[in-house]
């Protein structure tokens, strides 16, 4: 019975797609942890909605990765039968929900990037990625608006919310650099017009971040040391626990149809 981890042939395009799929799934999973426990019903709705968008993106990307790989894998095998070291998501998205400020700041940093990223990816020469981008871009624009509005409310709300929002920014800032990293395989995809160069988005990303943070009466940290490792499977300790929960059914009852 297939209890063990699957093997994935990580060609540059498979790996590239898998990385984006893992980002979407792990962040979607984190947001889904809020369902039933949010500060107000409206946020239960909103966070679930964003989670659903992200899980939807993940499913499309996994299916495409499986198709490109051309082996026996599918969206569920890719999601449920890879271990921590095989996951390729950003460290940012696996960070625990923390308080509402931490969840919102994590979402804000990611969505500000994803919004630019998916818009740019609409011009990808890979028709499937371009189509996924067209859908994801619309969703990301809404996610960014939601997170920005909340960050402003929290930053410019009470002393407590201001302090919590600032603490979240200070805590998560070091995980933002990884979004702009490119390795050799990705460079080749960029040169082929399949992927876009995230480095080119950095200026606009920083502008959006700075504008909102400043309107929220908050500040960005001076320390620019950035953590890395998610893209190559060197994760924080948090991801293993998330996966043990996410994968528990497939690991306990291998090979069944649900």
């Amino acid at each position: 019975m297939p209890v063990a981890n699957i093997q994935v042939s990580e060609t540059p395009l498979v790996l590239y797609t898998l990385r984006r799929a893992d980002d979407a799934l792990i962040l979607g999973h984190r947001l889904s942890e809020w369902c039933g426990h949010a500060p107000m019903l409206e946020e239960d709705m909103a966070l679930s909605n964003i989670a659903l968008d992200l899980i939807g993106q993940a499913r499309e990307l996994y299916s495409y990765a499986a198709k490109v790989e051309g082996k026996d894998n599918d969206e569920d095998k890719l999601a449920y039968l890879r271990d921590v070291r095989q996951y390729r998501n950003l460290l940012l998205v696996e960070q625990p929900n923390g308080d509402f400020a931490q969840t919102l700041v994590r979402q804000f940093f990611y969505s500000a990037f994803a919004d630019l990223y998916w818009r740019a990816m609409m011009t990808s020469r890979d028709a499937t990625l371009a189509a996924i981008a067209a859908k994801s871009e619309k969703e990301s624009a809404y996610h960014l608006r939601h997170a920005s509005e909340w960050l402003i409310r929290l930053g410019d709300g009470t002393d407590e919310s201001h302090a919590r929002a600032q603490a979240a920014i200070d805590h998560l800032w070091a995980f933002t650099g990884e979004m702009f990293d490119v390795d050799e395989g990705e460079r080749a995809l960029i040169n082929a017009g399949i992927a876009i160069d995230p480095g080119l988005l950095r200026g606009r990303w920083l502008q959006t971040i700075s504008d909102v943070v400043s309107e929220a009466t908050l500040v960005l940290p001076q320390n620019n040391w950035m953590q890395q490792g998610g893209r190559t499977g060197r994760h924080s300790e948090h991801l293993g626990h998330l996966l043990s929960e996410l994968q528990s059914m497939q690991r306990t009852f291998p090979g069944l149809t649900w």
Partner: protein, 330 residues
Amino acid sequence: MYTQALNTAETDDRGLEDAAKAAQFQARIDAEERIESNDWMPAAYRKTLTRQISQHAHSEVVGMLPEGNWITRAPTLRRKAALLAKVQDECGHGLYLYAAAETLGASREELVDAMLAGKAKYSSIFNYPTLTWADIGTIGWLVDGAAIMNQIPLCRCSYGPYARAMIRVCKEESFHQRQGYEIMLTLCRGSDEQKAMAQDALNRWWWPVLMMFGPPDAASQHSDTSTKWKIKRFSNDELRQKFVDATVPQAQYLGLTIPDPGMTQDADGHWRYSEIDWAEFKQVLAGNGPCNRDRIAARRKAHAEGAWVREAAAAYAAKRAQRQTAQAAE
């Protein structure tokens, strides 16, 4: 998800109402007219509906917890998305129903506070635990199925805002019910382990689901007024029987056994079920169900930990309004 027949009779203050207005009101009800929020209504009608609609809203919100318990462990990505969307729907029902209750003059805050304080009830069914994935299928199939049985007649409830809310809620519940049944069907066509999981879930949920329809008619305190006001159109036992009759063939199709060895089908085709353990029902209502404490604790925790967020939103809105006023004055 569901409202339960828990209300106690509130008829004492009706003597104080203007008799002519009350007669006119009853004439409108008898003529199947919808009562709207600005219309005159007897205080007891308002009170009964506020309690029923808010209990229903609390049930939707507390009902997010047992199913939410499986969102992070759903066995496939398709199931995960469907479950999350379903629980989100329930949250939407809660919001919708609080809004309907607000049309009667109660605020969402005071209604929620009453629930958190343990003064307001929610459906007893959510005080049972979800132990396996089959519980998610069973809740959709049976709990939502029972809810639909109860709520379809509420679409014709005399109070307009509640009736209209129910029309939308019923559409979504019907989708949830089919989704739950489909989970069960997949399990029952699966491995022996999966079939056993499905049967175990049915064994645990069957009797609590029958209790969802409320006490037997002989013991029901308030059906008379609710029936007269056309809030309630069928008795608890009538609805329970309809549900059982609809469900038995569904269980047979799945190849599952209803955990009631005494069940028989009478000459009219009705499935006659055995005596329900009303002592268990009373215990659960009294706060002694397996999860009563956990459910309230979870809602209180979310409410308490979210307080600073709600305060921040209010403080920001006030600052913004102040700035706008200052700008307008310049």
